[in-house]
Symmetry: C2
Subunit: 377 residues, 2 copies
């Protein structure tokens, strides 16, 4: 528990919390949703739109960036913030997860993971130490420890082996991070699959090592929501109250309400941009599929009460046309509409927690989603 604390808890409402995380590139209001800018870019969005949407922090993928354009190159160019022009807080993952999902011929060893790049087939080695080195070269405000994430369902023995390996990697990551300048943060990652006692053991051991914040990893990988939330409930009481908690790769708006209610402060997910590219819009009426022919002649916007201009000004007919025609602008508009919806939701969540009415806010919000879209006409 030696890591300095940069998190300030401002209010609680039940288990839900709102606070402020101070990073070298600015403050992050929590609960926070981090849009995913995989390879140094948000798909279909200018950085100015990401900023305008209300995002305080974005996520970059170490795996992609280390392979192209390369961590040393980005460092020479002034770090990820200068390189991309996103001059705000940035969290990077460790690269481990995508080694597992994207690369070929990977081999997990105690010392490191070796794999072949999905871009050019080059053989690459990633160790916990190299992952930290890469993330420091990138200039990430928040680095993540390298871990091994097991897809569920899995054998308990596999889950345990990966959890214990991740713990040893956590310690090595922690040591490798010791020379990082003040203000930069390292988060440990709780593993343990869907096994409550493994999750608890992982959390306890990580807290023992002492990180700036704690992530819960290896969820939102295909298991039911109830399992994910049960694992959050197992882990949450063990994590220090004064540190931020980050539920990795989550999720739907509904997932986030449930997780915030269980004490989670940070989220990331590709869903707003990916679903936007596939013609789906997130709204207070729930998800709307713009491919549906019911929108073809509808002059009404997605949501006339939205604070986001294109959600309020573009007709459903126009969005339908763009999506059906495969026009880039359709993906661009729906990506920004979705990221803005997520950010608006987080702002409403923060306000509700600060106002002590998070439960009634959740009830109202879920009722809106359940009612569904406005009637066709």
């Amino acid at each position: 528990m030696t890591a300095a604390n940069h998190f300030e808890l401002l209010a609680r409402d039940g288990h839900a919390r709102t606070g402020r995380l101070t990073t070298p590139h600015g403050a992050v209001r929590t609960p926070a949703f981090m849009p995913v800018g995989t390879a140094g870019a948000m798909k279909g969005m200018h950085w100015r739109e990401v900023r305008d949407s209300g995002a305080d922090i974005v996520l970059g993928n170490t795996y992609h960036l280390m392979l192209r354009p390369g961590a040393e190159r980005i460092a020479a160019l002034g770090g990820l913030q200068t390189f991309t022009g996103w001059n705000g807080p940035m969290l990077t993952d460790s690269g481990g997860f995508q080694v597992m999902s994207l690369s070929e011929l990977r081999k997990v060893g105690e010392q490191a993971v070796t794999f072949r790049s999905h871009i050019d087939g080059a053989k690459v080695e990633l160790s916990p130490e190299r992952s930290i080195e890469v993330q420091r070269l990138l200039g990430s405000d928040i680095a993540m420890q390298m871990d091994e994430c097991v897809r569920l369902p899995a054998e308990r023995s596999d889950i345990e082996r990966a959890m214990l390996l991740s713990l040893r990697w956590a310690e090595r990551s922690h040591r490798a991070f010791e020379t990082a300048p003040p203000g930069y943060m390292l988060f440990g990652i709780v593993q343990g699959g869907d096994a409550p006692e493994l999750r608890r053991a992982s959390a306890r051991a990580l807290v023992e090592v002492g990180f700036h914040g704690y992530a819960i990893g290896g969820l939102a990988v295909g298991e039911p929501q109830s399992v994910m939330l049960a694992m959050v409930e197992e882990v949450e009481p063990i994590l220090p109250q004064d540190r931020p908690r980050y539920l990795m790769g989550v999720g739907t708006p509904e997932d986030m309400l449930e997780a915030v209610a269980r004490g989670i402060d940070m989220f990331d997910c590709v869903m707003p941009t990916r679903n936007g590219r596939h013609g789906m819009a997130f709204t207070r009426f729930g998800q709307i599929n713009l491919r549906n022919a019911r929108h073809a002649d509808d002059p009404r916007p997605l949501d006339e009460q939205s604070p986001w201009p294109s959600a309020r000004d573009c007709s459903r007919a126009y969005l339908h046309h763009l999506v059906k025609s495969g026009e880039t602008l359709g993906a661009m508009l729906l990506s920004e509409i979705n990221v803005a919806y997520y950010q608006g939701l987080m702002q409403d969540i923060r306000n509700a927690i600060a106002g002590g009415n998070f439960a009634s806010f959740c009830e109202r919000t879920r009722a809106g989603w359940a009612t569904g879209d406005i009637a066709a006409r």
Copy 2:
């Protein structure tokens, strides 16, 4: 020559002219470059960026829009300006050119062209009258007559046949447009391939019919620039000085300087957005290929003196990375940078003509292009 005149000539410098064309949706400063928003969208650009770039008017493609989402549908939704959210002047082509280049099983008859849609194979008929009807349903500020455009090189007999057919279609288009509300415009199109006497005959006959403006079509279809400019020179003295002249489908920045010097007022081309999607940037140093490895480590922007933010703020290294990675943002940034470069060039051209120094402006501009890009480092 009965068509009302909405064009005001403000200054001349040699054959070059600057003026103002007043349309129902606003004024167009000439010389004007019209970015191409094929199917009701500019590829990779939000309309707010098109506006910010300095574009007064954009072009929509009748062929695409009549097939999807359909002219009657767009009319019911309030016309193209309301439908797209581009609330400024819009010119539409007649659809004829793309029937020739995109559709299948087309058959050109005296009465109409019949073809199969490239989208769903549906059989469609397009006559000069239907083309005008479609363009009026779309709400175009400037409609174009239907014509037949012959690819060069071609037999003189084919060129003549197409030119004469286009003239008969011009008269039918003109009659079909008689009931259009005041302020809306119809342009005739000079055809005649690379045959000077056919070009002159076409221009004289069109002027006899009397249009709001005159386009020169069937150029920039593969012939040398010298042929294109020679045809402009043949036609220009015949066209009335008080009407706008539009050189269709042109072109490169260099093409535009040459054509403005020969009395052309309007241009359209997909080049800024298409080349942007292929990693090319238009700058005062000439065209720059961002795929080139020389940019990989270059922290300098494309042009630190550009008035356009992303041309001034994004590093060449970042643009190179985006293009190499196939990130949408690369195409988005280069499209807006290129359209803004074209618009900046047109503004400089207008200023130079108004100031009576167009020739020296051209010399300076060409010298910049000829010098080429800044040295690698």
